[in-house]
Subunit: 430 residues, 2 copies
């Protein structure tokens, strides 16, 4: 790329090849979202700074927001995620149908250090259910995620489930000070990157007592039945058990689901079940993640509004697909390239294009009567399956020559028979 013509670091052009794959994945994601009753919503790219920062939702991450003053000298910032915009929307429109189930697929911007798999502009695909405390909502989101990863074609994926309530109980049981809880969760969340030993070192930094540290690490290593016996407060465990039973009743394929007491998630605002999906055998990190956050949405109008959501990491999904060599077969919407042979036959070629278009099929007309070889090359680059020649010979005999780019065969047929031919051909190719 010409260096004077760069995009900003961490922001990328999405050229046709990337876009077609992206749209293919987004189409699969939205079609599952919609089958589960989620409806589309979008919010502006820019919000008042007061909205973005007012409730301290992002904590430390707030410094990653693109902040500036607009031409009216108002402090504004660019969409960092969809959680705050969702909270604003729910609080602003009292007539919204509850439970409110919406999905939002747009770009977000984070002034983060660009690195592998981390961009400054990227797509997020969020679904949230606002207005219910029922764990059925969690179950639906987890099943929906499974259905999406299956629809995309992933074979080995795993959704890990835990509960912030359970983690809090473990902290309490281990004698960890309430004020250190969230720092502890943040340390645990780095496990995939820095390993369990790294996490233990981080526990050190938090200033946990040796006893607390050992109690936590031993608790996190227990199977759920053991934990249930161990812990005095059973609420978190009960939540996880209910969620698992709903998943089973709803027909979730349980081979993609596991309980993982180490799962903690990096955001402060979670209050109940949390979950994260990874594709096994890749090191790209999680491709989906979410959880319950019952105290956030209501902050904007001082009401109690429970909510739960999951976010599909589109950029990571695309990266994993590349890594695993998953290339969805995307057929060209254009089936015919009508070439231009020479100036005098242009009108004839255009009429042929019209005739083929009348059958409803996608047709490109090469706009110039350049060397026919170059026009064929164009068809091959754009994966157009048939190339049509309507030159002087064809004009004389009221016919067209059609080359099948796949088989390499070429046939000449009368214009009068074109329609029947098309119908037959298109049926075969369907």
């Amino acid at each position: 790329m010409n260096s004077k013509l760069q995009t900003l670091q961490g922001m990328h052009d999405r050229l046709p090849e990337n876009m077609k794959k992206r749209q293919w994945v987004i189409q699969r994601i939205t079609s599952v979202f919609e089958k589960y009753g989620f409806e589309p919503m979008e919010t502006p790219a820019i919000e008042y700074w007061e909205i973005l920062s007012g409730k301290d939702v992002y904590g430390d991450e707030e410094k990653l927001i693109y902040k500036f003053q607009d031409r009216g000298r108002r402090d504004v910032g660019m969409r960092f995620d969809f959680t705050v915009p969702l909270a604003r929307v729910v609080s602003s429109y009292p007539d919204i149908t509850m439970p409110f189930k919406r999905y939002q697929i747009q770009t977000v911007w984070r002034c983060d250090k660009p690195q592998y798999g981390r961009f400054r502009e990227f797509y997020q695909c969020d679904v949230d259910i606002v207005g219910t405390e029922s764990v059925i909502a969690e179950a639906e989101l987890i099943i929906l995620a499974s259905e999406i990863f299956e629809a995309i074609g992933f074979k080995k994926f795993m959704t890990k489930i835990n509960s912030r309530k359970l983690l809090q109980t473990i902290c309490e049981y281990s004698g960890v000070d309430k004020s250190k809880e969230f720092e502890l969760f943040r340390a645990m969340d780095k496990r995939d990157r820095i390993g369990i030993d790294g996490v233990k070192e981080n526990f050190e930094v938090l200033g946990l007592s040796k006893e607390a540290k050992e109690k936590i690490i031993s608790s996190l290593g227990q199977p759920i039945a053991q934990l249930e016996k161990l812990l005095p407060n059973k609420e978190g465990i009960a939540q996880v058990r209910t969620l698992f039973s709903y998943l089973e009743n709803l027909g979730c394929n349980m081979k993609h689901i596991m309980f993982d007491p180490w799962l903690s998630r990096g955001f402060d605002y979670y209050t109940g079940p949390i979950f994260e999906t990874i594709i096994e055998g890749t090191k790209v990190g999680s491709v989906a993640g979410g959880g319950r956050y019952d105290n956030l949405i209501g902050k904007f109008n001082d009401k109690d509004i429970p909510a739960v959501g999951i976010s599909i990491g589109l950029e990571r999904v695309l990266m994993v697909m590349d890594k695993l060599d998953m290339n969805p077969k995307i057929a060209s919407p254009v089936k015919f390239l009508v070439t231009l042979f020479d100036e005098p036959t242009i009108k004839y070629a255009l009429q042929v294009a019209k005739d083929i278009r009348n059958s409803g099929v996608g047709v490109e007309v090469y706009p110039e009567a350049i060397k026919i070889g170059k026009q064929f090359k164009y068809a091959s680059k754009k994966k157009i399956p048939f190339v049509v020649i309507a030159g002087p010979d064809e004009l004389k005999t009221h016919s067209v020559a059609i080359k099948d780019m796949k088989s390499g065969t070429q046939e000449t047929l009368k214009l009068a028979k074109l329609n029947t031919w098309l119908q037959k051909k298109l049926e075969v190719r369907k």
Copy 2:
């Protein structure tokens, strides 16, 4: 809306009702774009200020760009349109297939005075063909626009066609100084808003001689055959005539097409044919517009790269649809709401939901066992056609009750027969 929770002026939340209609229209637009061989492309929301302003493409409008410094103190600006990003992309990637036919559907931002039909964040839908001087490109774009407006359901629309070359010839013939040409075009472009008399007054302000003024106005009133006789330079006329003949050959429905010598377009960069589509009987302004701009794309790498494009004004299309009461029938992707009757039957209801989902159809589960009437109301708000009850009576008899929300009839059937029933029902509703 709660005033403390506002979006920025001129920027709007796109709630589900709006989004569904928007997606319906976008789907029609893209499917036509793709049938004509255009491929999707997207560019980042933020560009270096040097790119946006470097070639003085936007002229006076440059002051409408959201400009700021990012956290690294670099001058940047938000996407104002897709023309400069397209020029940057074409210049940056030498391997791009030419002619390059891409579409771009994203939001753009303009810090304009918000007013009726003018927003600060809005969608644009652009198609451009880069790399050919052939007027076949213009013809394809005009036909494609017609096909889009027909697909959306508009009956009375008109694409007006003119040529900047022709307008320049008229200026020359009328003795208008070359330096005043563009100001004159800008004045003419206001005709729809201020009327011909208003335009004439603006001519006054430009300081045109009485003779020049009269010559222009009289020329602009001539039919094309008359103009051809009148003007010494026939190039512009020839261009328009070629375009019309291509349109006819390509099967364009000519009742939606007219030559309009008054059409001028507001951007400086057009060099050849220009066009604009209006929906008759509305005063929203044009819903599509474009033209040839052969000197812009190449500016970024000092090459000659011809280009032509058309932009569909999605926001205006939506406004006109509202005005004309055009409400596309958009079926709910969810066909069944499974209600929850009481706590003990939740698991049974979830299993029923699973059974219906297995048929491949969209199903929502109401997440709480609240009053059944409220659950029915939810189904009706979300236009879900069938509501399923799987309560204690149904559990006892291994059956479900299904209410058809349209007819109001309710039937009870054995679980074992659910599948056959579904197959029959779904076939009928297809």
